[in-house]
Amino acid sequence: MTIAAKAAGPARPSPRERRMHRRYRLDLHASPYLYIAPFFVLFAVFGLFPLAFTAWVSTHEWSLLSDEHVFVGTGNYEALLTDPYFWNALGNTLSILALATVPQLLAALLLAHVLTLRMRAQTFWRMGMLLPNVASVVAVAVIFSQLFGRDFGLVNWILDSLGAGRIDWQAGTASSHVAIAVMVAWKWTGYNALIYLAAMQAVPREVYEAAHLDGASRIQQLFHVTVPMIRPTIVFTVIVSTIYGLQIFAEPQLFGGGGPNGVTGGASRQFQTLTLYLYEHGFNRGFQFGYASAVAWTMFAVIVLIALLNYLFIRRIRSSS
């Protein structure tokens, strides 16, 4: 073969060689798409299609219990926007989001900062951060619901022995929001701390040394050097936490107990979040999938809007530094 190839000269590759070359180029260009294809195929089937179908369903009066689906156009959305319980759920969700996310990310930042310091058993502390995140949401919610129990909860027992009196955590609006926010924060603080830690380790040492020479304290270094340097990571965590926080479901559902209060978020709907509101309409009496789909799309819009606002807000970290 080599002899034949040489005889033919280098200028004209044989058809076989040309074929191989084409395959090689094909491999080069097509393979990457092939490798990522499974994700996109699955995303199309389980992500895009349901998304589009939900939009379609949301324009119908569509009950799971009936085979008739009546087109109502924007009727579901109009009913939704005039339902005070929807606005109540939106308010609760935003309140829990703020209570959970802001302290959580600040704490994560501080924890990450502490973890960059020299200490014994570094890996132990770092892995420990992740443990709450490994626990299942349901387990966390069940255990915290017991801790926040009115009569026999540990939190009330401590408050009581300090002379502060008992709190009926479920009954009040603010108290229930705090309890739920604590569950979320407990689960996600360590996770965010590790993400910040990874970002902090990529910040060049020299910057800190320079800051140190200029007489900046540890805390000053954190806020004037570290935070601006890891800004993209902060943007990421803020957006991810926002998205998660706006979809919070298991915590309030389990916090409300097994009965109707788990669906409405308390007897006064004091901690009904948007997803619980969706669940109430979609998977309870009537199984109004059309209405629930409209809730889902409205939630989607709310999440995009708030994530965008947060992004614009966080971006100012750069401009101010």
Partner: protein, 423 residues
């Protein structure tokens, strides 16, 4: 274009492989001739030993039990019925949900076609009726237990409050009416300095409504919450009890509620037969402290279940054969003995094996007699399609009064406006 083929082929192969892998994981073969019947329940019905017994009689049948929480169970069942897959061969339905399902009989095997038409006399008539569709043409479920009501009370707390302790005397305290029950509650509160007389006002309200001739629905499935005087009276009396601070404000099935049985934070609870085993398991330390008296206001039914065969189940005949066996008096008696769930077959009500049964836990209360009397006296009440949800909505209104977030008037008007979406 030719050059793209290998890509496509490879892609198709990958996808196909993934699908096959997913597919084989999802279905299990039944090559050896055995049939596995799946049974979907909320909570433990005490069927465990009966599966074994049945499998010994019929070696080809095996069982798989799936237990979910009460509310989730019915939500899942409805979803599975609507989507046409996922339901178990045999599913339990609580009485608060049964009319929601009898309204769509096509989704279930008609038990009248499978042999149940010959069994009608076996059950309490009203229990049988509850499983029938509106036209009476199809029967979707056979009754398991009924929830004739009684009143469980703590002997130690009654004694401390200077009230009678023996069950006959306690029954006599409120034999005439719920007003007397609330009056005893006032006495109890005063004597104990604000001790809780009962666990939740919603439960008391529900008991009163269940005893009325008509409940929240009329026979045309119209909500009569506003017009039914029985509901107004029950509401007012419950509000009186709440305002007197008698309610421990506990929500059923929560850890706090469970702990309350053991700790004795409340003195009385309305207990249908099925509740007795729940108390027993959740308050092991309170043996002998709980006792059972009769419920005020006459007899009434609270809870109890049917077993249904969803139409999507493939083993209708085998499932029906098991169902018929399982709901037969002999098996219902065994369930009663082990769990306290009270049989729905009147044949047993004269059987000394049932009537003679006493429970050591409840200070040797003759549960057989108590619940037989309760069950035979029940005047059946018509249950509408969203019975359970309507009662839950009213219960939440009472909850808002309990936690002080609303006045009784505000709570009632919110209940009424919430119920508008049920029409």
């Amino acid at each position: 274009m030719k050059s793209k083929r290998p890509t496509r082929a490879a892609f198709a192969a990958v996808t196909a492989a993934a699908l096959v892998a997913a597919g084989t994981a999802a279905c299990s073969g039944e090559d050896d001739g055995t049939i596995t019947l799946t049974v979907g329940l909320f909570g433990d019905f005490g069927f465990g030993p009966l599966y074994e017994e049945y499998s010994e009689l019929h070696p080809e049948i095996e069982f798989e039990e799936r237990i979910a929480e009460f509310a989730d169970h019915h939500t899942n069942l409805t979803t599975h019925l609507a989507t046409g897959s996922g339901a178990a061969d045999i599913e339990a339905v609580e009485v608060g949900y049964i009319s929601q399902y009898t309204a769509q009989p096509d989704r279930f095997h008609n038990l009248l076609d499978l042999g149940a038409d010959e069994l009608e006399g076996q059950w309490l008539d009203w229990k049988w009726q509850q499983g029938l569709s509106a036209d009476g043409e199809s029967l979707i479920g056979l009754g398991t237990d009924v929830g004739g009501m009684a009143m469980c009370y703590r002997r130690d707390l009654f004694e401390a409050a200077g009230l009678p302790v023996e069950r006959d005397e306690v029954s006599a305290l409120w034999a005439d009416s719920w007003e007397d029950y609330v009056a005893v509650g006032h006495q109890y509160s005063e004597a104990t300095g604000g001790g809780y007389f009962f666990e939740s006002s919603g439960n008391m309200f529900r008991a009163m409504v269940e005893q009325a001739d008509e409940g929240v629905y009329d026979r045309e499935d119209q909500l009569i919450v506003e017009s039914n005087p029985a509901i107004g009276e029950a509401w007012d009396l419950t509000v009186e009890a709440i305002e007197a601070g008698m309610s421990n404000r506990l929500q059923a099935w929560t850890p706090e509620w469970n702990a309350g049985f053991n700790e004795g934070t409340f003195a009385t609870i309305i207990c249908p037969a099925w509740m007795t085993s729940y108390i027993e398991t959740n308050a092991p330390d309170a043996t002998g402290l709980w006792d059972i008296a009769t419920v005020p206001g006459g007899a009434g039914n609270m809870g109890g279940s049917h077993l249904v065969l969803p139409e999507q189940g493939e083993h209708a005949e085998e499932a029906y054969a098991f169902l018929e066996w399982l709901t037969a008096p002999e098996q219902q008696l065994k369930v009663f003995e082990s769990t306290g769930n009270f049989p729905s077959t009147p044949e047993l009500y004269e059987d000394p094996a049932l009537t003679g049964l006493a429970k050591a836990y409840f200070n040797d209360a003759p549960v057989g007699q108590i619940f037989t009397a309760a069950a035979t006296a029940v005047q059946p009440q018509y249950q509408g399609p969203l019975q359970g949800d309507v009662l839950a909505t009213i219960g939440q209104g009472l909850g808002r009064i309990e936690d002080g977030s609303q006045t009784p008037e505000e709570a009632w008007s919110q209940v009424v406006s919430d119920l508008e979406s049920f029409e």
